[in-house]
């Protein structure tokens, strides 16, 4: 990785260039990373590290391996393109246009710059036109919504913008920003291959535009596509790769990339949030909680990604923390989908499902493609026993992203709930296909097979075995496996799983009816197998418990003693008085 100082310089220039072109979110991102770079201890001043205080503690806690800061491959630096300044008069027009832009009067921008030919002006004009079209499109989507949800509102500027940009790019008169816009337009028009090509060109010649990278990321829907991209090496590429891996559910790869990046951008909130999200996908809730707590401390008005945090709080049933978070985001910005989602989560936790649905609906109104809101709303409908609505909500999630295993799982559950286990199987199968490492999914499928209607125990056993193999935290699988084998009259297998279950319970220091059941079975089993020593061990352990099992153990022990001591057994005695 390049030195921190050079990163810092590159970013500083980039921020100026980006905001000069009104690419605000990209410049925001760049600025966040700039501040995220760890200060050299030499230049340490209290004011510089104001943003960075408090974060080190967590980093120390969770950094397992020290990151080596040597770059993995030689990094080819891309020199910052020299700004080509327009003439003074044109510069004036540009200033006017930019101030219009800042006031969101896009069409006026385009009008002011109508005759300008400088690259910067052309870009801003096209960009403004594009945004004007987008704005109108948003409005029209609502105006035009027909009875059947007709959603064919299109950005009417796309055609003209595309025509202009493609001419420019043919004549090689286009700068990286223009290319970014061109890629954006192409993507919107559905020409994904060309869009990818153009975006790659853009990021290769100007890598600091995070918006271009994100567009590219959204076009990388498979590993093959990612591998086919011809990207030149730059530290920005690492960010990109991490984010692609995250989206492609390659969580461990993403995590290692992010941890690598943290070597340079130690205090980047962005990276921290992404790590949190990845850990959430890996179901490491404790870590996620710490990470987000820390993030909120440093960046208290952050709304982005906070829905993940709220999910964790929900799972851990932290009522007050969740309400505090909801309060905080609503004060910051109540019309963000994330905020609505957090409130929905809170109401759901409180068991007020109607209210919860209302907030999820609001979130979806703000962003129709908000995946997790659809799924969460489905959960709420399940709670409200409104199966058709739940199924509909889940199905929408699945149609937005077919890899969303939670929604598939929800669909399965909903159908199982209304007594259609066979129909539900299809959905459970889908869900385990996309997330084969989640034991809960396997267990759900197994229970489906086990149900009274299907009674396909062999299949259920197979599923439980898979569940037991992938870290079944609730320890259902082993127990059920043992029981099923016992029911099927396979004592050897049953004993094997009872033993495993017992070992597990010992390791976790848990005790309960399952322990007693396991011990009883094992004792009886070994006795019938004439392996008295083992049987005795289990019997002795059983004696520690109260209840009828204790008596059973006693009688078992007595029987074994008699058998071992060579005396004729009780019933034989009975016949020979």
């Amino acid at each position: 990785m390049s030195s921190k100082e050079s990163c810092r310089n590159e970013l500083r220039t980039a921020i100026r260039q980006l905001s000069d072109r009104c690419l605000y979110s990209a410049s925001k991102w760049a600025a966040e990373q700039l501040v995220g770079i760890e200060q050299d201890p030499a230049k340490f001043t209290p004011s510089n590290t104001r943003f960075q205080r408090g974060s080190s503690s967590i980093r120390r806690r969770f950094r397992t391996n020290e990151i080596n800061s040597t770059p993995p491959t030689g990094v080819a630096y891309v020199s910052t393109p020299v700004m080509e300044e327009d003439e003074a008069i044109h510069g004036d027009f540009y200033l006017l246009a930019k101030s219009y832009f800042d006031c969101r009067e896009y069409r006026r921008v385009a009008h002011v710059l109508r005759d300008q030919t400088g690259k910067k002006s052309v870009f801003l004009r096209c960009y403004a036109l594009y945004l004007a079209g987008e704005k109108r499109k948003e409005e029209e989507t609502i105006e035009l919504e027909g009875p059947l949800g007709k959603s064919d509102a299109v950005n009417r500027e796309l055609v003209s913008v595309e025509r202009e940009l493609s001419t420019l790019s043919k004549n090689n008169m286009i700068d990286p920003f223009g290319l970014y816009l061109y890629g954006l337009v192409l993507k919107e028009k559905g020409n994904e291959n060309l869009a990818r090509k153009v975006l790659v060109e853009s990021v290769n010649s100007y890598p600091w535009n995070w918006s271009a990278w994100s567009e590219l990321q959204s076009l990388c829907t498979a590993v093959d596509i990612l591998n086919s991209l011809n990207l030149s090496n730059h530290w920005m590429k690492e960010f990109f790769l991490a984010s692609v891996y995250q989206e492609l559910r390659m969580h461990n790869e993403a995590l290692s990339k992010y941890e690598n990046l943290q070597g340079t951008f130690t205090f980047s909130n962005y990276i921290q949030a992404q790590i949190g999200k990845t850990q959430y996908s890996l179901r490491e809730f404790d870590q996620v909680e710490v990470i987000f707590e820390d993030l909120l401390r440093n960046d208290p008005y952050r709304v982005e990604d906070m829905d993940t945090y709220s999910n964790v709080l929900y799972t851990k049933e932290y009522f007050s923390a969740l309400s505090y978070l909801a309060h905080r985001v609503i004060m910051t910005d109540k019309y963000r989908p994330e905020s609505c989602c957090i409130i929905g989560n809170y109401y759901s936790l409180k068991g007020l499902h109607e209210k919860s649905v209302m907030y999820f609906r609001r979130a979806l109104k703000l962003n129709k493609k908000y995946l997790s809101a659809w799924t969460l709303m489905g959960h709420e409908y399940v709670e409200m026993k409104n199966t058709p609505a739940a199924v509909d909500a889940y199905r929408r999630a699945v149609d937005i992203n077919p890899r969303d295993y939670r929604a598939w799982y929800g669909l399965g559950q909903a159908y199982e709930m209304i007594g259609m286990p066979h129909y539900a199987l299809h959905y459970f199968q889908k869900s385990v296909f996309f997330q084969p490492i989640d034991s809960r999914l396997w267990i759900a499928m197994a229970q489906c097979y086990e149900s009274e209607q299907l009674h396909m125990l062999e299949e259920a056993i197979k599923c439980y075995k898979r569940a037991a193999n992938c870290n079944d935290t609730e320890a259902i699988a082993l127990h059920r496996l043992a029981e099923l084998h016992r029911e099927l009259g396979q004592p050897e297998e049953a004993a094997f799983y009872y033993k495993k279950d017992l070992e597990r319970m010992e390791a976790e220091e848990r005790e309960g009816p399952n322990t007693v059941e396991a011990l009883t079975f094992l004792a009886t089993h070994y006795k019938t197998q004439k392996r008295f020593e083992e049987a005795e061990v289990y019997c002795t352990r059983l004696l520690d418990y109260t209840g009828p099992e204790r008596e059973t153990a006693k009688s078992l022990l007595r029987g074994m003693r008699i058998a071992q001591s060579g005396f004729p057994s009780m019933d034989v005695e009975h016949f020979h008085p």
């Binding site: 027909g146 055609v159 509909d392």
Partner: protein
């Protein structure tokens, strides 16, 4: 959004509807004249009215026509008026340049409508009845306009601009993308200039016309005018194909990426909901009817477009499922089925009645029913049964009796289609309430109980089609199953172990009653959507080839208009059911052994129900007819007919035709003594029988039966017997009773040919008793013949027995048997006489010679060398005994010819083999 079912009748105002409104306004302008201004005659006036009706109701596409299409059609119907009409529409449209114009326009429209009590009105005033179809249309348009927000009105205005512009620049369509959409304004201004001139001129003309008018009442139009009018309408109905062609063109043009921007300017509008529903219904029918010959991709494109334009219109997924199902795309069919039911919960579409006591659970049992039928279609009967079992449970829970009845019918269908070898454990516990005698019954018995239960349920729910289908299934069951007491304990009723043709007939007849029921209550049955579909169909072919219409027309062709306004109310599915009852009759007669009746029924089906039948059923009928031809007219005609059938069913159900071809080839090869070819064909049949998808038991039986026959012809008796024996075991195991009789008969023949007549006798007798209990009369006659032959070969002292048997069977054989059977009977008769020691040839030569000549004649068509040789041999002997040397030489040389032909089979003259 989630869980909210949209009103199916939602209606949006579009430029096309605006131009329709203009036309309606012209049609019924509030003037004092009975024939309003631009129209010169009553028929012209009415023609426009009919055309407008057709436009509001038709459902042949999902998109509304563009202005230029409208203008083209107007040209077709307008006759002399076309210029005026098109100019009027375009000028009115282009005069709408500000939102206020639209307001005024719709206010004006309101005047066209009469008041609520316009039943009583002045004779000389043209006012649109608000409750008429056009009146309703107008009212809906006005209502939809009034509900529009201001933004909506602005959009409508823009869209009208685009709509007009497209029509004008349609000639330079390709270049349209190049001129920026900003010059719309200037364009419409230019139009205004041009058209306003025309408009002014017309206004003047209108004034002039108003003054000179004749007073003819609008309601007193003569029927004669109306009938001429129908002929006129046909003319523009012919434009439909062209219309469709356009659709196809655009869809092929819109393939790939281009599909995404079908029209970047948004000049594409969906038709009304009812129209689209109707269109989809029609397509669904077409898919089911044509099966795999339905074009997959073109329809998929339409569906994709529809989905894009109306994402909440979930029926699309169902259609996609159907399309995939009939093109054997398992995974996407499954995926789309699930998607449809996830979105709609089974409560969307035509037949959806908003639940009165809404239970809010959705109708997922329908999903299960569909899934079960799909699994069955793809050859997973076990899994299908599991799913259907679940459907039964869920239907019971949800108290959805209709679905339950259908599910039971589906299960019955499944059980009767696949032969289960195991007798228990297939239907699990959920059926015990229905079978209520536990699972101790065999599959057949369970099926019978289920069928009856399903029929009763359907009757109590008054599901007419289901009743008919169940009747058919029961008839089918009665055809092949003897009646047995269901209880294995208790006082046993004495039962004849026979099938009961009367029951079969009764069931078939009662299924046929369906059509009369539909005729009576036609008008109440047709929903709005189905009505419009039928309407359009009749528009396209007013004298269509539907049976009913033909009946109507031939009875009195004086008033076709009556028919025109009252479309045949019999839905296609009903026709299909009635048709299949004829198909069942044909099969039944085939089995019971009446060839003429079988043929007649097949012919009735082929001529009357050809339009309504699915392609697979049509193939079955053709196969039956060709088989009949082969048996009664010989191979030449059969192969000629086969060629025609092959051309007709080019891709659909190819396999069925292929099987028939192989069967015919095999038979002919056997007759000609071409054993190698016969074996080869037989092997091919065997391959077809055990395809990858699933095993067709019927075909498998047939293949091994033919295998045994081939071996028999090759005189490999022990092998033939072994094959036949294992076949018998299989048939017995799978309860194929009719086949059992055939196989037993074959075994008897094998033993007879191998010279073991004594062993053959019991087989023949067993076959005979099977035939008796299943009422297989023709087969019985044929078994009797074999029995006679067996007796005959036992020695000359049994000739009397043989002859008696033969004469008993003669009426049946001669009346219904094919050529081969008749010839065999004749030869056997001659042989009987000849071997009878008390019979002297010279006394009564014709008694022997006549049957032999008959036999030789009939065998000629079949090219059955072996039997022919035998006939001529016998003839030669008879002539020899009579001392007629010349005839004897002739017969002897014919005999020699056939023996040579048998030994040296040549297939040079075989066009079919290629």
């Amino acid at each position: 959004m989630t869980g909210v079912v949209k009103a199916p009748g939602a209606f949006a105002i579009t430029p096309h509807k605006v131009s329709l409104c203009i036309l309606v306004h012209t049609y019924a302008s509030p003037s004092q004249i009975s024939v309003p201004f631009p129209f010169s005659s009553v028929s012209q006036h009415n023609r426009l009215g009919l055309y407008l009706l057709a436009l509001t109701k038709s459902c042949d596409d999902i998109l509304e026509p563009k202005l230029d299409q409208l203008i083209n059609q107007l040209r077709e119907i307008g006759g002399l008026l076309d210029d005026w009409l098109t100019d009027h529409v375009t000028s009115r449209l282009s005069s709408l340049s500000a939102p206020d114009d639209l307001f005024n326009f719709f206010n004006e429209l309101r005047e066209t409508l009469g008041g609520p009590d316009s039943g009583v009105m002045d004779d000389d005033q043209v006012i649109l009845d608000p409750n008429s179809n056009l009146g309703m249309f107008l009212r809906r348009c006005i209502l939809a306009f009034n509900l529009l927000t201001f933004e909506g009105i602005c959009h409508l205005l823009t869209n009208i601009g685009i709509y007009c512009k497209e029509a004008i620049s349609s000639s330079s369509y390709e270049h349209r993308l190049d001129d920026s959409s900003n010059d719309l304004e200037s364009l419409s201004e230019y139009e205004n200039m041009d058209l306003n001139l025309v408009f002014k001129k017309i206004n003047e003309e209108m004034e002039a016309r108003k003054k000179a008018t004749e007073q003819v009442s609008f309601h007193l139009h003569l029927p004669k005018d109306l009938s001429t009018l129908v002929e006129d309408v046909e003319v523009f109905a012919d434009t439909k194909p062209e219309h469709n062609e356009k659709g196809g063109e655009s869809s092929s043009y819109a393939s790939g990426d281009l599909l995404r921007d079908v029209d970047p300017d948004g000049g594409v509008f969906l038709r009304t909901n009812w129209q689209i529903q109707g269109y989809l219904m029609e397509q669904a029918d077409a898919i089911e009817k044509h099966g795999s010959s339905f074009t997959f991709n073109a329809f998929e494109l339409t569906l994709r477009q529809l989905q894009k334009l109306a994402p909440e219109f979930h029926r699309v997924h169902f259609l996609r499922y159907l399309n995939n199902l009939h093109h054997d795309e398992y995974f996407s069919a499954l995926e789309n089925l699930h998607r449809y039911f996830d979105y709609s919960a089974g409560t969307e579409g035509f037949d959806f009645v908003p639940p009165a006591g809404s239970n809010g659970f959705g109708r997922f049992e329908i999903a299960l029913l569909c899934l079960g039928m799909m699994q069955f279609h793809f050859g997973h009967p076990k899994r299908a049964l599991e799913v259907l079992t679940e459907a039964v449970l869920v239907s019971q829970q949800q108290c959805n009796d209709t679905c339950l009845a259908y599910t039971l019918a589906a299960i019955c269908n499944l059980l009767s289609e696949i032969g289960f070898s195991t007798t228990s454990g297939i239907l699990g516990s959920p059926f015990s309430p229905m079978t209520n005698v536990g699972t101790s019954l065999s599959v057949q018995q369970q099926l019978f109980v289920l069928l009856n239960g399903s029929l009763k349920r359907a009757e109590s729910l008054k599901l007419k089609q289901l009743i008919a289908a169940n009747n058919l299934a029961l008839a089918k069951f009665g055809l092949t199953h003897v009646q047995r007491p269901l209880l294995s304990f208790g006082p046993k009723i004495s039962m004849k172990l026979r099938t009961c043709p009367i029951i079969v007939c009764k069931e078939l007849r009662s299924s046929y009653h369906l059509i009369s029921d539909f005729c009576c209550e036609g008008s109440t049955m047709t929903t709005d959507g189905a009505f419009s579909t039928a309407w359009l169909k009749n528009l396209q072919k007013p004298m269509g080839s539907l049976v009913m219409s033909q009946d109507n027309g031939s009875g009195n062709n004086s008033n076709p208009f009556l028919f025109f306004t009252q479309p045949s109310s019999i839905p296609g599915s009903v026709l299909q059911l009635v048709g299949s009852s004829y198909l069942h009759r044909a099969t039944a007669w085939e089995m019971y052994g009446s060839a003429p009746l079988a043929r007649v029924n097949a012919l009735v089906y082929a001529t009357c129900f050809a339009d309504a039948s699915s392609s697979s059923d049509a193939v079955v009928v053709h196969v039956k007819l060709i088989q009949h031809l082969a048996a009664f007219r010989g191979y030449k005609e059969a192969f000629a007919a086969l060629k025609i059938a092959e051309e007709k069913f080019l891709c659909a159900s190819k396999s069925r035709i292929l099987i028939l071809k192989l069967q015919l080839l095999h038979e002919r090869a056997l007759h000609r003594g071409h054993l190698k070819l016969a074996q080869q064909v037989c092997d091919e049949l065997g391959v077809l029988a055990s395809s990858v998808a699933s095993v067709d038991l019927q075909l498998k039986t047939e293949a091994s039966l033919r295998h045994a026959r081939t071996l028999l012809a090759a005189k490999q008796f022990s092998q033939a017997a072994a094959v036949a024996h294992s076949l018998f075991c299989m048939c017995y195991k799978f309860n194929l009773q009719v086949e059992n009789a055939t196989v037993l008969l074959l075994l008897a023949e094998i033993h007879m040919k191998s010279g073991n007549a004594v062993v053959g006798l019991p087989y023949a007798l067993a076959s005979l008793s099977y035939c008796q209990s299943f009422n297989l009369d023709l087969l019985k006659a044929s078994a009797t013949l074999t029995l006679a032959e067996l007796w005959l070969s036992l020695g000359s002292n049994h000739t009397k027995t043989a002859l008696t048997l033969l004469h008993g069977a003669f009426p049946m054989i001669l009346g219904h048997g094919g050529l081969e059977l008749c010839a065999r009977a004749y030869i056997t008769e001659a042989k009987c006489y000849l071997s009878d020691p008390s019979f002297s040839v010279s006394d009564n030569p014709e008694l022997v010679l006549d049957p032999l000549r008959q036999a030789a004649d009939e065998l000629q068509a079949l090219e059955y060398h072996e039997l022919m040789a035998e006939a001529f041999y016998l003839m030669a002997i008879v002539y020899g005994k009579l001392g007629q040397l010349q005839q004897r030489e002739e017969a002897a040389s014919s005999f020699k010819n056939h023996i040579v032909a048998l030994d040296h089979p040549h297939d040079a003259d075989d066009p079919v083999l290629s």
